[in-house]
Symmetry: C2
Subunit: 230 residues, 2 copies
Amino acid sequence: MRRNSFRDIRNELEKRIARRDWQPGAIIPGEEALAAEFGAARATVNRALQDLARSGLIERKRKSGTRVALHPVRQARFAIPLVRQEIEQAGSLYHYTLLSREVRAAPDFLRARLALPAEARVIHVRCLHTADRRPYQYEDRWINLAAVPQAEEQTFDETGPNEWLVANAPFSHAQFEFGAARASEEERSVLQLPEGEAVFVAERMTWLAERPITLVRMVHPPTHRMVTTL
Amino acid sequence: MRRNSFRDIRNELEKRIARRDWQPGAIIPGEEALAAEFGAARATVNRALQDLARSGLIERKRKSGTRVALHPVRQARFAIPLVRQEIEQAGSLYHYTLLSREVRAAPDFLRARLALPAEARVIHVRCLHTADRRPYQYEDRWINLAAVPQAEEQTFDETGPNEWLVANAPFSHAQFEFGAARASEEERSVLQLPEGEAVFVAERMTWLAERPITLVRMVHPPTHRMVTTL
DNA sequence: AACGCTATTATGTATAGACATAATGTGTCA
DNA sequence: TGACACATTATGTCTATACATAATAGCGTT
């Protein structure tokens, strides 16, 4: 006979919620009761319930008890891979090309977005990532030199700034923005797209404890799909 | 003196990893050792480590031990709101318009994507969601009648199929796809976009325990941004 | 060297019992 | 009646202990 694992309990409760055995908003039995029902310890039931709460299916409050979430504000997760990994995992040949690299004062739009002081100096890097020799991602990146001074010594002609940053400048917070746009003149030429083509744009800002690290705009051809499951 | 909570332990370990006290790829002390160091039980350390593993900062393997992730494959979460909520939370006026509703046999492309049998019947609904009278999202949805027979009685002329489904047909799995595309003729006319404009496309498939429920294609004007933080 | 069995080891999970904490209910006193 | 202290309750967390399980290392056999 199989022992009652917290997964079994979680799955069973999940099923009951999906089946509407317990209405949305309704309170479900307490940990003690469930523990008795499943013949498990309260700690085991607790673990199952915490799991469900994390996935947004139930809401828990001390003393009040546990209830089925009214609006199952479900959330999906997506991984943030390195371009190289993403491409190589798809079984393609990765290649990196540096297009330009420049140390300069932060332009106004960047100062505004990253809340940088007037005198801020940054590195601006533009590069292209290809998969099987076909343009895959055009990367347009700004790095705050005040936060990552070692970046100034990097030429970025062999490895991309993303890989270097991941290995040398951890971040604590990040903001992501995804959208679509008509390809600009420059994007079209770099990605070799026909006139008027659409592009998938992902922007990312990262901070390490309130200090802005980098802003990057990653532009993909319209064939690109970001996929995730729940 | 404050008790060592698993959060404290997690935060401390997080800090050490950020500080590079342990190099990426390096093995970190075992649970017993950490428990001794923090003066906690192994179960407490275990909980902290499982937490870190879930967030992708470390990788654990039985017998081998725990090591700092080489490429911290961090993951971000995004919420899956109802369009109405999304619009109203932004302080805008939500409005819904049904464009068409039709019960029919599943077309080939749909049968292929949802793995439906040859005789499958579906509802096809097209509708528009507006924010402050401006087109916000064009929704093109297919519902599998074998999985949600009650949908056949719904007219969807007052509330959108999404809202109805959320309240009446829960799902257990979902797949999301995001991308960009040039607006089709139909999308342009519904969303009132100029010729050659780009659109942001989100597709979602949902299942309840292996039974396909629905496939929806949600098309947004290029001004739309999907934002999330980590 | 190749193979397969076994012992070892670190993590994974379960348990009973205890105390902590937040939220709510209740009774007392001014 | 209102303010406030106190009891109650469900969840939150920790501990010590035990056993389970996956993966590896080492050994012995062929």
